[in-house]
Structure formats: C-alpha cells, structure tokens
Symmetry: none
Subunit: 269 residues, 2 copies
C-alpha cells in the first residue's frame, strides 16, 4: 500500500539506532522481552538494562518473540551512569508530578526531539521500576522528562506498553523526517556537552560552593537540585561547559592562593 | 501536579466512552487483559469480545491488573455484526497491504476521526486474531482501515500493545479537543526572572569574574557573550536567579574579606 511504503531514506532509518532504551531495575523479565519486541516493531535496536532483578531469563526470550536479537545485543550494566554516560540527550519517563517540576515533553515532542538530536549524538530514554518508576536522583540526571498523558484515575502503564508508545512516537518522527516534513529547528555552533562531563561539572560546583561556605547547612540538596535542573534545562554545549569549569577553577585557585598567602604571612610576623 | 492535571472538559472525556474496542477471536486471554489495561490507561472503557477462544480466564484478570472493571463490563458476542451493528464508524486494524486497498488511516488520523465522530455516534476499532489478523470479509465490513507504521522487517505488534497505540492516539485527540490545542505541560513552580534582574546578574557576573581575574584580557567580550547566550536560552526563574546571585555575592565576600585580612596582617608586622 503506497501510504505505507514511506521511503524512509537509509539515513532516517539509521537514526533509530541512535535512540537507546534504558530499563532501570526491571523486576519482571517478561517486561524486558516485551520492551525488546516493542522496540523492534518500531525499528529501534539499542537496549540497556541497568541492574535487572532477573536476567537472563526464559520469560524474557518468550515475550520477545521475534525480537530475540534485540535481547541478545542488550548491554547489562550496574549503574544508570554507565548506560547514559556517552549520550548527549537523556530523557526520563515520569508517571507523576514531582516536587520540583522538570522540563516536560509530551510523547510527541519527545519523538521529534529524539530524532532531531540523533543526527549528531546518542539519545537515551530511561524507564524506571514497574512499581515506582525512577527515583528523584535518577530523574535529576535527565535533561527532560516525558509523560504519557494517561487517565488520571488509572495512570500506571505496563512497562512494555509504555516503551511501545514512546518508540512509536520516535518512529513517527523518523517517518516525518524521511518525508521531509520536519519542522525547522535551530542549528547550533558547538556540540552538546556529554552527560558525564556535565556530571563532573555538578561535582565541581558543589565542591567549590562548599569551599566558599555558600551552602546553607540546613538545605544543601535543594540548592544543588535547583542548579541541576537549571543546567539540565539549558543543555550546555561543550564550550560553555569549558567556560563554566574554568570559572570554578578560577574561584578555587583564588581560595587556595589567598589561604596560602595568609598562612605565609602568619608564619612571618 | 498542575502540569498533569489537564482539564479535559467533562464532555471531551465522555467521548472516550463512545469509542469501543472490539477484539475478534482472541486466542490468548492474557491479551484480553492487557488490552483492558491499555484501554483504561487511556480512559476508554467499552470492550467487545467476539467469540474469544478462552474466556473468562484467570490470566485475563491477572493481566488486566487494575482494569478488571473494564473486563467485568465487557460484552461477549458470537459475531462481529453484533459488536459493531449500532456503530456509525467502524475502523479495522490491518497489518499489511490487502489485495483491494481500502481507505487507510494512520493511527493519528484514526484518533482524530474517532473523537470527531464520537460526538454524534458510537465508533468501533476492530482488532483481529494474534496470528493472522482480520479476514478480508471482516475488513470489508469496516469503513476504514488503520495501520500502525511498524518496522517492515518485524511488523507484528503484540495485540495489547497495538490496542495501546491506537487508544493513545484517541486520548491525544481528545486532549487536543479539550484544550483547543496540543496538550501543553510546561507549567513551572516559580515565575520567570524579569529582564532587568537578569541584566543585573550579567553585570554582577562580569564584575565578579573580573575580581577573580578570570577573564583572559584578550577576549573578555566573547566569554560574556557566551554566558549571555547560555542564560538567555535557559530562561532563569526568580529563585534560580537568587541562588546564582547569592553565589556571586559569596565569591565577592570571600575576595573582600581575605583582602581585608591580608591588609590587616600587612599593617601589623
């Protein structure tokens, strides 16, 4: 049927390979298999499993049906960091409102963003545990959140069907791109900072602010969470990150050298 | 949370009840349960089962999870005719091209059409058997067909996930109708910083960085331009701006007090 024979160019199809699905602490191996099947149905193939409770497992293979190849090439890691470290865009699935709201995509916006960014770097979409999703710490490692606008009276989607909906939107965006209907986005002059480099910036920032005595002892976490949200929203590029880290180093050098000078003067009365 | 509380008007929500899901000759009762769950997640409730192979069944109840009410109110009939007889629009799911092409919707078009027509009459979306879908006779009883544009190399979606994708598009169309636009989620907890306050931040930043000797003398403007672009892109909120200015003040206080201390020590040899 002509309407289905959308001539996705090779390169558009290739973009799907750069969008990885990350499942965190999955309890039921059947859901891993179901997710693999949903991915392959939509043309995605890169699956990361962060500390799955029970894996490998026959039940995963059974539910994967014809998508066993996706399971076979799945990468099992111990921490979320290992799964997303080299990604330029990380989006976390969030079932409910959080105390500090994060920039939030609809599934459609997510699909468009993922395909657009997959042209230049790897993209991760992160799914949490069946019973309680992602922790706040995990969600704060993500640039954006995505929420499937479900029935407020019964909002908990099965993990594999949630994977299905988001992969479906990624595929729809890819097909739109392949047809040349993509809305125009602004290009940028510098590549995005990698996730792990931004994490190092957060460490550096916390350290520097502690050196300066900036944190109010009663609530350091809240401040760091707000800073994390701020810089996640902004999507730092590599040069910006270099400038920001240079500033922190300048502050630390100043603190270090003036302390040295003070010590020296105290020794020479 | 406000960003999730999409105020679908009562009447828009009501439209979802007029879109029924019809499953024909389902083999695995687990899929019936999974379909019920997917429907309820998206706010649909009307389920028709045409000659299911095994039903009622514990496995259906188990997979339905919190959507047992949808199962309990499901109507079991012997023929497709009985399931769709009173509907004004009948759409059949089709996995592959047919010998005689039929008017075909994408899932998105289907969602929009279903919600539009549900204002005046009942709408049915019909799903076939797990292994071979709907027969040609059954498809020819439908006004339109709908195809989920899946990976040509692996196109067979699990029945419950296919129900999920189509019900998701129905819900998205309902939300669009309810809001008169695409669902828009990005509410925020703090008002945006005012322009002039952000300008003061830039002044403060430049001053502080100069105090620290951070700027490379040959190119201070380029660095400030990059910082300006960065913070303009981010759209700082008021609390974030306060934190950022607090940090700058902490740096300046440190610089000031250590310089004072140094002066004092130099005066008291």
């Amino acid at each position: 049927m002509s309407e289905h024979r959308i001539s996705a160019s090779g390169s558009a199809e290739e973009l799907l390979k750069k969008v990885r699905v990350v499942l965190v602490n999955t309890t039921h191996p059947g859901n891993i298999g179901g997710a693999a099947r949903a991915m392959k149905n939509m043309g995605l193939s890169s699956l990361y499993l962060v500390a799955p409770k029970e894996y490998p497992a026959d039940r995963a293979v059974w539910r994967a049906a014809g998508a066993v190849d996706v399971l076979d090439s799945a990468i099992v890691v111990d921490t979320l960091e290992e799964a997303i470290g080299d990604c330029g865009l990380v989006v976390g699935t969030s079932a409910r409102g959080r105390r500090i709201p994060w920039p939030l995509f609809t599934p459609r916006e997510f699909g468009e963003k993922a395909i657009h960014e997959a042209k230049t770097h790897d993209v991760a979409v992160v799914f949490g545990r069946e019973d309680r999703g992602l922790t706040n710490d995990e969600l704060h490692k993500c640039h954006y959140h995505v929420h499937i606008p479900s029935n407020p009276d019964y909002s908990a989607l099965n993990l594999a069907t949630a994977v299905q909906v988001l992969c479906y939107e990624v595929r729809m965006a890819m097909l739109t791109l392949a047809e040349g209907k993509e809305p125009h986005f602004d290009d940028w002059d510098v590549p995005p900072a990698r996730h792990k480099d931004v994490e190092m910036y957060f460490e550096h920032l916390e350290e520097t602010m502690t050196d300066l005595g900036f944190f109010t002892p009663e609530n350091p976490r809240q401040t760091m969470t707000r800073m994390r949200r701020l810089y996640s929203r902004i999507r730092l590029d590599q040069m910006e990150l270099n400038i920001m880290r240079g500033m922190l180093t300048a502050i630390q050098n100043f603190v270090y050298h003036t302390n040295k000078k003070l010590e020296k003067q105290q020794k020479e009365p």
